[in-house]
């Protein structure tokens, strides 16, 4: 179709907009159905729902994260498992676009407004599929006392130079009580770190049990 004619261009754009709208509606419908089943009273229905979540993908991420914080233990667990299913599905070879979309949604969930347990879980999801774009928001959590240990382990797992650079920067900025942790991550990634010895073999925990 030649696009020289303004009328044709307008019509084509309208068709794309209409089909995009239909697709978005369909996606929204799938997400709603998934969430509804995740909240179902039946353990079987919930299980089948989270098992099928992979194909629903990125559009379901935010909604599932919300359900993860709901009061019912098993519903929250099903939502978490659904999120993990999405992460494992989108990480398959050849699914780069799906993966990037999911990573984008997950990164949004690292925001301060999200509860710590959600952010901790999301960090570990990003450890499996996180891309260069996720490094900066993960690195920002190196200064968060509740999440910094998870954040440094997750950066350690992401195989990019950017992750190493983020750990190096994190080490410079880290308080004394966290420097050894980051130093360990850097050593694990093959970086020499001086002045911060490995303390893995230093015992620290005393027992109250006495020998006979």
């Amino acid at each position: 179709m030649s696009m020289n004619n303004p009328k044709k261009v307008f019509l084509a754009a309208a068709v794309v907009a209409a089909s995009t709208g239909t697709t978005e509606a369909a996606k929204g419908d799938r997400v709603q159905k998934l969430i509804s089943k995740i909240r179902d009273d039946s353990a079987e229905v919930r299980t089948n729902a989270w098992l099928s979540a992979g194909e629903v993908g990125a559009p379901a991420v935010e909604a599932l994260a919300k359900v993860m914080t709901e009061g019912d233990l098993e519903v929250a667990r099903a939502a978490k498992r659904a999120l993990w299913k999405i992460v494992r599905h989108c990480g398959r070879p050849g699914a780069g676009n799906e993966r990037r979309a999911v990573v984008g949604e997950l990164v949004e969930l690292l925001d301060d407004e999200q509860p710590v347990p959600v952010r901790r879980e999301v960090l570990w999801m990003l450890s499996e599929i996180g891309t260069r774009k996720s490094i900066k928001p993960i690195a920002a959590l190196l200064s968060n006392k509740e999440l910094r240990e998870d954040a440094r382990m997750v950066l350690q797992r992401i195989p990019s130079k950017g992750a190493i650079a983020a750990l190096k920067a994190g080490l410079k900025a880290a308080p004394e009580d966290f420097k050894l942790n980051i130093a360990q991550s850097l050593r694990q990634r093959g970086v020499e770190v001086s002045g911060l010895p490995c303390v893995k073999l230093v015992p620290t925990k005393k027992t109250n049990v006495k020998p006979l």
């Binding site: 919930r46 098992l51 398959r92 450890s127 499996e128 240990e149 992401i158 073999l201 027992t207």
Partner: protein, 449 residues
């Protein structure tokens, strides 16, 4: 070997090295073994993890101490109640520790028995080796591929003897089965089908809570990422969550597939592809597959290994026995393997402390010229032999990591829902970046490799 006012073995060896002009003072076993215990010398032990199998090992070692085979210097556990019980079992003169690293610092301790939850095996074995201790570590050897590599490297670098607790290889009927199979009694074997009953579902899920006062939850978690305590994690139920025990495939797979790899002459080899499916628990904290099917394809030579967790009514029927057989009656008929050759098939049940071979293997009389196979003197005896002579143990760390890798790869394929390709030479998953990342799991500071 008492600690106080006596030369410990290492001090003695150092002195022996300096006194080379008077070799008649030195037991021959010491000189022959370059830093290992002399043939008649008692090994001084410590036990890390004293609940469950750890309790069994401690009681077993107490009996051995009574026979003059070993000394017991220390016991250790993150749970103070278990530790107090272990102190009672071990008796006077045995020190108690919460933190295993105090044990590793002691120069008088030659060897450690590690029977902690699975997520601790890798780090503790590596740390013990780095401190020059010989190690008996419970199976499965490791929870990740990279842990396994570190364990092999640490044992080699530090020249310590490691025995992994897949003790099925040391059972009397395992020897009979091995000998029967390698002599071609069922012909060329192209397929081994392992069977097992399902992993359990948690029918009593509970919310997270504070840990009990006696448990050091931080230490129990160790290398695992932090999470709140839940009483469905421990003590024994770590077995049913993927990050630690990994379900039946890692628990009993480390036994049944250990026999398969040994009897097939496949130690040191690995599959080229792994494909798993399974059904998850419908509720609760535990997440290991309830039912499961895994297919491992090996090349050069070509054969197939399968692992199936199936409903109990689908399991093969157990053989009738009188109890007079070398392994006695079959008391755990719910797992084992069927070996399929071009001239017939062979079945065994168990594969751990009980390994029961089908009658035809037990009754087979080797003709003149038949091949014989290694007959273990007992799993711990085989380890002691390794310590004293430097010979490889029957379930050495390389073999055990090979078996653990099968279990890990099966679970990874199940978790990811796709077929994996494995490069045995490079010891890595190929063509799947996410799976490749999952070969390794970062560990919490300071509980890391």
């Amino acid at each position: 070997m008492k600690r106080t006012n006596q030369l410990n073995r290492r001090e003695f060896l150092a002195a022996a090295g300096a006194a080379v002009s008077v070799p008649y003072l030195i037991p021959s076993g010491v000189l022959a073994a370059r830093g290992r215990g002399g043939a008649n010398e008692r090994i001084t032990m410590a036990h890390i993890g004293v609940g469950g199998m750890g309790g069994y090992h401690l009681s077993d070692m107490v009996e051995r101490r009574g026979r003059g085979e070993v000394n017991i210097a220390a016991v250790c556990d993150a749970d103070e109640k278990r530790l107090a019980n272990a102190v009672k079992t071990a008796g006077p003169g045995v020190d108690a520790y919460r933190d295993y690293r105090y044990i590793l610092q002691r120069k008088d301790i030659d060897a450690v028995v590690i029977a902690t939850p699975d997520h601790w095996h890798g780090a503790q074995m590596v740390h013990a080796a780095e401190c020059g201790k010989h190690v008996y570590v419970e199976k499965p050897a490791c929870c990740t591929i990279e842990e396994g590599k570190a364990m092999v490297a640490a044992a080699k670098k530090n020249n310590v003897s490691v025995q992994v607790g897949s003790q099925g290889r040391s059972q009397p009927e395992a020897y009979l089965a091995h000998r029967y199979l390698v002599n071609g009694n069922i012909g060329h074997i192209s397929r081994v089908d392992c069977f097992h009953y399902p992993s359990p579902e948690d029918n009593n899920p509970v919310p997270d809570s504070d840990p009990p006062a006696e448990l050091d939850w931080d230490l129990w978690l160790g290398p695992l990422r932090w999470r709140p305590y839940n009483r469905r994690y421990c003590p024994g139920s770590f077995r049913w969550f993927l990050e630690s025990g990994g379900g039946q495939i890692r628990d009993r797979g480390a036994h049944v597939m250990s026999c398969a790899m040994w009897w097939m002459g496949a130690d040191g080899t690995g599959p080229v592809t792994i494909e798993a499916t399974g059904t998850p628990p419908k509720k609760g904290l535990w997440d290991s597959a309830v039912l499961m099917e895994v297919t491992y394809r090996f090349k050069n030579p070509d054969w197939t290994l399968t692992w199936t967790q199936m409903p109990r009514d689908k399991l093969p029927a157990a053989e009738e026995r009188t109890g007079q057989e070398p392994g006695g009656k079959i008391v755990r008929p719910g797992y084992g393997a069927i070996y399929r050759g071009d001239k017939g098939k062979f079945i065994h049940w168990g594969g751990d402390g009980g390994t029961w071979a089908e009658k035809k293997a037990r009754e087979w009389e080797p003709p003149a010229g038949a091949k014989d196979v290694y007959k273990s003197p007992g799993h711990k005896e085989d380890w002691f032999k390794g310590i004293k002579t430097g010979e490889k143990t029957i379930m050495n760390i390389e073999a055990a990591v090979g078996v653990a890798n099968l279990c890990i790869l099966g679970n990874l394929s199940y978790i990811l829902g796709r077929k994996l390709e494995w490069d045995q030479a490079k010891q890595e998953i190929v063509g799947d970046e996410q799976a490749h990342r999952m070969m390794y799991r970062p560990q919490r500071h300071p509980y890391h490799l």
